[in-house]
């Protein structure tokens, strides 16, 4: 007779995975929360503020981390990937591989190792706009509050300057990967998303033109902990930005790129226009959109923006972005649908509102798991496999939390 396990494996420790884990654990389930990054929080940890309240993501994160810390039913594994899943609903064996972090749980986050480290590496958290040392704290409020070593950057034993700098013996350059096996009854896929590759939007210049950035980069720029301390500065020369264009549906709602709508980019750009205006009252913004998707209760966020004379909302697709090679000033060529013409306007900075591409799972991990044409997980009660958050469909934080909470109950269905 097959054994029956009540435990749940949640793959992905962003806001959705954390929510499913916490809600299921508080309802009585044992949960294994597995995250590939060295920290929990996923994409929302990198956001400056949430719409529409313009409140900090760390606020909700802090509450969830508190709930996780104090709940013995939640077992968190960071730096970890799922390498194998075998079995059936109610009786799964999952193999997990924890990559070596080279820093042990004895780390007190005092920072002495980084002070001693001679090697720089691009800071993933800031989309490579800044650097950290090879031994780094992922971000100020990272949980676990523990340094990590970037294996790709670290020279290892031939350098080892961090080792004697650590008073707690918490650096172990010889650390090996650890394989573990867990038995669970249900699996929740909460692997989130990555930004659509903006380089594929050839006419929009990302990757070629220095002052064309993406919306996720803008969140970091606007953050006080980001590359510019929260000042909106042009990448090319560090000057304060006076005019910003937002290009909506950059690669979304487009047969040639992502056919679906990512559900958040309209609100995200409206929010980022507020960042720009609050950082510099003289700055102006223009948002080029197809439809302004500020749905439901988000309507008044849009209305507040509409009252701001320095934020222009222009219905029309952007055809092309070019650059003055000397000044790096950008020119946006777009249709102004309501005005009935093609417009050419100069901007200091252009933000491409790129969409979300679901990360899903490696194809061979659960061959029976349904993935739709867009890459989103199709839940299966027969398999006892559910999606949570953007893994299941594009959504804002509120929708992800709602949906992830639902996943926490779906794993409890007995029939």
């Amino acid at each position: 007779m097959a054994s029956h396990h009540e435990g749940v494996l949640v793959i992905g420790g962003g806001v959705s995975g954390m929510t499913t884990a916490v809600e299921a654990a508080e309802a009585g389930r044992e949960v294994h929360l597995v995250e590939t990054n060295p920290y929990l929080g996923g994409r929302v940890a990198r956001l400056n503020k949430y719409f529409p309240k313009l409140c900090p993501p760390w606020c909700g994160l802090e509450i969830n981390l508190k709930r996780i810390r104090q709940n013995p039913r939640i077992h968190v594994l960071v730096d970890t990937d799922v390498t194998g899943i075998n079995g059936a609903r109610g009786d799964y064996k999952a193999t997990l591989r924890t990559r070596p972090r080279f820093v042990t749980p004895g780390c007190t986050a005092c920072g002495e190792c980084a002070a001693a480290c001679p090697v720089d590496r691009p800071d993933e958290f800031n989309h490579a706009m800044t650097k950290t040392k090879a031994v780094y704290l992922p971000f100020l409020m990272a949980h676990p509050q523990r340094y990590a070593i970037d294996a790709a950057a670290c020279p290892g034993a031939s350098c080892a300057k961090c080792v004697p700098a650590c008073r707690y013996g918490a650096i172990d350059l010889g650390m090996k990967a650890v394989e573990t096996e867990i038995h669970v009854g249900r699996i929740v896929v909460a692997t989130g998303w990555r930004p659509y590759e903006a380089e594929k939007l050839a006419s929009l210049g990302y990757g070629r033109l220095g002052n064309v950035i993406t919306n996720v980069m803008m969140e970091r720029i606007a953050s006080r902990e980001g590359p510019t301390g929260g000042r909106i500065l042009r990448p090319s020369d560090g000057r304060q930005v006076g005019s910003v264009a937002f290009v909506q549906c950059a690669g979304s709602r487009d047969e040639n790129h992502l056919p679906y709508c990512s559900a958040v980019c309209c609100m995200a750009s409206l929010k980022q226009a507020r960042y720009v205006r609050e950082a510099n009252p003289e700055a102006s913004c223009e948002i080029f959109f197809i439809d302004l998707r500020a749905a439901g209760r988000h309507e008044d966020f849009l209305q507040a923006i509409q009252k701001d004379e320095k934020i222009r909302l222009t219905k029309g697709k952007v055809a092309e972005i070019t650059e003055d090679p000397a000044t790096k000033q950008l020119t946006v060529v777009a249709e102004d649908v309501m005005g009935g013409s093609l417009v050419r306007r100069p901007f200091d900075l252009v933000v491409l509102a790129t969409g979300m591409v679901p990360n899903g799972l490696p194809a061979d991990l659960v061959p029976a798991l349904g993935i739709d044409e867009d890459g989103f997980t199709i839940e299966s009660e027969d398999l006892g496999l559910f999606g949570a958050g953007v893994a299941a469909g594009p959504s804002d934080v509120s929708g992800c939390v709602q949906q992830a909470t639902a996943a926490a109950l779906k794993v409890m269905f007995r029939d």
Partner: protein, 715 residues
């Protein structure tokens, strides 16, 4: 029982370098005669943990003070089981990392923190889970038998819980039962589906766990989580049922067409609303109501009454999709008919974009952006629609056989009392903007301001059917979680698993009613005299009642007015001539304490003169602490709590706002005592605003220096 206290001081993480630990040890051993006092360079390490465990055994310690890092760090390492109370004193983030090393003021700060921690520990009593003495129900009540309610009920039943599903009408199905087809709910997201009402209803009817009450009227609901008493009237009579938690899923009503005269409703029979079109589609014929002739040109006017300050200021989230769905009815019932959708923005978010794309591929469906200005009767029964702000740059005039106004949705809680809660603070969940039940709708969407009551579906906020389905299951989970946690005698979000309960010393109550009025969760009812009647399972343990009470009759075993008063008294206040001011800082545990931790992690240099005491919520601050601080000789008091207002971040809804009001009154009292009101200041702080803390605290200290030492110091 004799208490035996151990004090453990960590010298790691820079603490030993910054602070004179020997002097700290003396505070513990000489001033406070702790039974065991130890220092360790790595207190969170396994060897130190073993030593602590051995001390607990051999010395019979029932409580320990860990003088080390933030209470947010190393939580696992400093958990020694239920028999040992642990008090955390933060001399790392709040002293070693923000202060000048090897400095007299730094040492004085650390010593005061240890004194306060020792006193708090001594005053704490062990906790045990709340027991009501009654049988705790785990039954889930679902109010509303539409798709959302039915989905919630079935989900809870499938997880093994008993459910009572209450529906006002004589049958299940709600709004969904009036639909011919429903929007797609799965890939490829292009095909309309059966609304699924019949199937869902039959699954509920055959479920052993579900009791369905149709034609039911809620008479009242009393009690609290696990102890709700639902009084119900059905055709069979009246009954009372004990319930554990409630899912509120009463859905919406379409916006009153009578209010849409400005869009032609009522002026022509051929101007109808979405529900009318749906009925025609169910009949199999889309006709002009005026003469019964087939409607060959149908025009849909979006945002009829929505996105309109004079009607519904919000967007109803589903009408774009509804009109697309109904346009497909028009087309499939009569391939010669056309459907034109006049919109402001097409809001087919996420994967529904596929459905929009499919509609656009139909040659007989036209979509155009414009602002509809007038809808008037035309010639021969047609209807004329005038619009401007069009894509053509010129106004347009359309003639239609039938105009469908896509009217929005209004939550049913707007039109009548639903839950009939016998709560002192009102019969339903308090509402926020737009009349939807108030909650932290981004991060914690289900939590209403009534513990154990979770809103789902269009009563919670405008949403389309896929979202409502998940919303239902999520709300059912929260209800289940509530009954599980509450029956263990603990609190739910945000102080999840907290087993402390507020104790009311009723003999000294003066019936001022402040606590019953100020509790954001309506946890306190009143008897005829105005004496509070507690409902511990409704309580979120924030302590706002404790802060409200002028007689100080409310206390928790591990958090009380007396405890903090003694912490204040335990501090050492230097005489005026030493020119070392003293300020009391009251910081909320939710956002402010973590922000101060981040200030420490960022190595901001802060004033050494402020002593921070963490509080559960600024609302729990009792103003007697202000007068006691002033009596003790403190020169000022600064408070940090979460942001309040429309876009509140306060985790207890309005705790910091209540405190701010109380502090204004305090300001007036200070002036009456010839003290400057600037001595007390409250700041709203978000968790990531740590960078502002240096400036805020420095400026406050400048103010304190300017107004001069507390004239009562030294008395």
């Amino acid at each position: 029982m004799d208490s035996a206290q151990g004090v453990y001081i960590c010298t790691g993480c820079g603490i030993g370098e910054a602070i004179d630990v020997e002097k700290l040890e003396k505070v513990a051993s000489s001033e406070h005669s702790a039974k065991v006092v130890r220092t360790d360079g790595f207190l969170c390490g396994p060897e130190a943990a073993d030593r602590i465990r051995r001390d607990i055994e051999s010395e019979g310690l029932d409580r320990i003070v860990v003088c080390a890092c933030s209470m947010r760090a190393c939580t696992e390492q400093f958990d020694f089981g239920k028999g040992t109370m642990v008090e955390r004193v933060n001399v790392r983030e709040h002293v070693a990392w923000t202060q000048e090393p090897r400095n007299e003021d730094t040492d004085m700060l650390a010593q005061d923190y240890l004194r306060m921690g020792i006193v708090k520990s001594q005053k704490s009593e062990p906790l045990s889970p709340y027991e009501s003495g009654q049988e705790m129900s785990r039954t889930i009540l679902v109010v509303g038998g539409g798709m959302t309610g039915m989905t919630a009920a079935l989900a809870a039943a499938r997880a093994g819980y008993k459910v009572v599903l209450v529906e006002k009408e004589a049958r299940l199905g709600g709004e969904a039962a009036t639909l011919l087809k429903q929007l797609p709910s799965k890939p490829p997201w292009t095909d309309l589906e059966d609304p699924g009402v019949t199937l869902l209803a039959s699954r509920l009817e055959s479920s052993e766990n579900v009791t369905i009450k149709l034609g039911a009227e809620i008479l009242k609901i009393k009690g609290g989580p696990c102890l709700f008493d639902l009084s119900l009237r059905t055709a069979s009579g009246e009954e009372t049922i004990r319930i554990g938690a409630i899912v509120l899923a009463v859905g919406h009503r379409p916006y009153d067409p009578g209010k849409l005269a400005h869009l032609g409703y009522g002026q022509s029979k051929n101007v109808v609303v979405s529900a009318d079109l749906e009925r025609m589609a169910l009949d199999g014929r889309i006709v002009r109501p005026s003469d019964g002739k087939p409607a060959r040109s149908v025009v849909f006017v979006q945002c009829a009454g929505s996105r309109d300050a004079g009607h519904l200021p919000y967007c109803s989230a589903v009408c774009c999709l509804t009109s697309l769905r109904q346009a497909s009815y028009v087309r499939s019932l009569d391939p010669g008919a056309t459907a034109t959708i006049l919109y402001r923005d097409m809001r087919t978010l996420g994967l529904y974009e596929h459905y929009y794309k499919k509609a656009q591929d139909d040659d007989g469906v036209f979509l155009t952006r414009c602002e509809v200005k007038a809808v008037t009767p035309g010639e021969g029964g047609t209807v004329t629609v005038e619009a401007d702000d069009t894509l053509l740059g010129e106004p347009i005039l359309l003639e239609a056989d039938l105009v469908v106004l896509a009217n929005g949705i209004v939550p049913r809680t707007r039109e009548a009392e639903v839950l009939k809660l016998e709560y002192r603070l009102g019969p339903d969940c308090p509402e926020a903007k737009y009349g939807f039940p108030d909650s932290e709708f981004i991060c914690f969407p289900y939590e209403t301001r009534r513990t154990g009551i979770y809103a789902a579906g269009t009563v919670r906020q405008p949403m389309e059917p896929s979202a409502a389905r998940d919303d239902a299951i999520g709300a059912a989970l929260k209800a289940i979680q509530c009954v599980e946690i509450t029956s263990q005698g603990a609190a739910v979000h945000p102080r999840a698993l907290d087993i402390s309960v507020p104790d009311f010393f009723m003999q000294r109550c003066t019936q001022c009613k402040r606590c019953t009025e100020e509790c954001p969760f309506g946890a306190l009812d009143e008897d005829a005299k105005g004496t509070p009647l507690t409902n511990p399972t409704r309580c979120r343990r924030c302590g706002i009642c404790m802060g409200a009470c002028p007689e100080r009759i409310v206390s928790f075993k591990n958090y009380s007015v007396d405890m903090v008063a003694n912490m204040i008294k335990a501090c050492e206040v230097p005489p005026e001539e030493d020119e070392k001011p003293r300020v009391l800082g009251l910081i909320c545990e939710n956002d402010a304490y973590p922000a101060f931790d981040l200030a420490g992690a960022s190595r901001l240099r802060l004033s050494p003169f402020i002593r921070f005491i963490p509080v559960r919520c600024l609302g729990s601050v009792n103003i007697v602490w202000i007068s006691q601080a002033l009596d003790k000789g403190f020169d000022g008091i600064v408070l940090f709590g979460c942001k309040y207002g429309d876009d509140y971040q306060c985790h207890f809804i309005k705790g910091s706002e209540i405190c701010s009001t109380r502090m204004k009154n305090v300001g007036e009292k200070l002036q009456q005592m010839a003290l400057e009101s600037e001595r007390v200041q409250l700041h709203e702080l978000a968790v990531n605003e740590h960078a502002k803390l240096k400036q805020i605290t420095d400026e406050f200290m400048e103010t304190i220096v300017k107004v001069g030492p507390n004239p009562f110091k030294g008395f």
